[in-house]
Amino acid sequence: MNIKVLGPGCPKCQQTERIVKEAVAEAGVAAVVEKVTDMLQIADYGVFGTPSVVVDGEVKCVGKIPTKEEVKKWLKH
């Protein structure tokens, strides 16, 4: 599983990355978590804002910090 956290590095983006990593660890899922900070790469996903989270190529949330429970649900599908 590949998870990308899209965001240039502000506190909300950093918090999202932390939540995603914690969720992955707690779920015991084998996943690579990447932080994407390049604005051109972020734009390729067509997202309206950041932080955004992409799981295996699918944009799961845009412009908000997900809860850990939300992230864990995404890991199950």
Partner: protein, 139 residues
């Protein structure tokens, strides 16, 4: 990196039908000017219509959508509904008394009225301080 970037919870996504008539292009121009005036941020209705997943998810997650249709055909409305998005503020420019035609020399007064209608439709939705993803920090 600034600490006041990213989603504010008060974002207004502006989607114009941008159709092939004066009212479609007035809708487009109104969306441009409202973005320039920092009322909201124009976004790509075509991306939603094309079923691009990042665009659809963005529209589902944004707090407020202002959809501007030039005429009663309602292409912007239909595009959103087809994508499963039912909650949006909606303005139809012909309902403001602007006559639909093929004159693309837009009347600035019509654009002003369109913008005023969008602002009224979004009344109470908050001020857009959200910045788009393609233009700097968190957009």
């Amino acid at each position: 990196m600034t600490q006041e970037c990213c989603a504010s919870g008060k974002a207004i996504m502006i989607l114009a039908c941008s159709g092939g008539s004066n009212v479609g292009q007035i809708a487009n121009q109104a969306a441009i000017e409202l973005t320039e005036e920092a009322f909201g941020t124009m976004y790509c209705l075509a991306g939603i219509g094309g079923g691009l997943q990042g665009f659809i998810q963005s529209a589902k997650d944004v707090p407020v959508i202002a959809a501007i249709d030039g005429c009663a055909v309602g292409c912007a409305r239909a595009t959103l509904k087809r994508a499963g998005i039912d909650a949006f503020r909606h303005v139809v420019l012909t309902e403001l008394g602007i006559e639909k035609n093929k004159n693309f020399r837009l009347n600035p007064e019509d654009v002003r009225r369109a913008k005023e209608a969008v602002r009224a439709a979004c009344n109470g939705a908050g001020v857009a301080v959200f910045k788009p993803a393609a233009g700097g920090c968190c957009g």
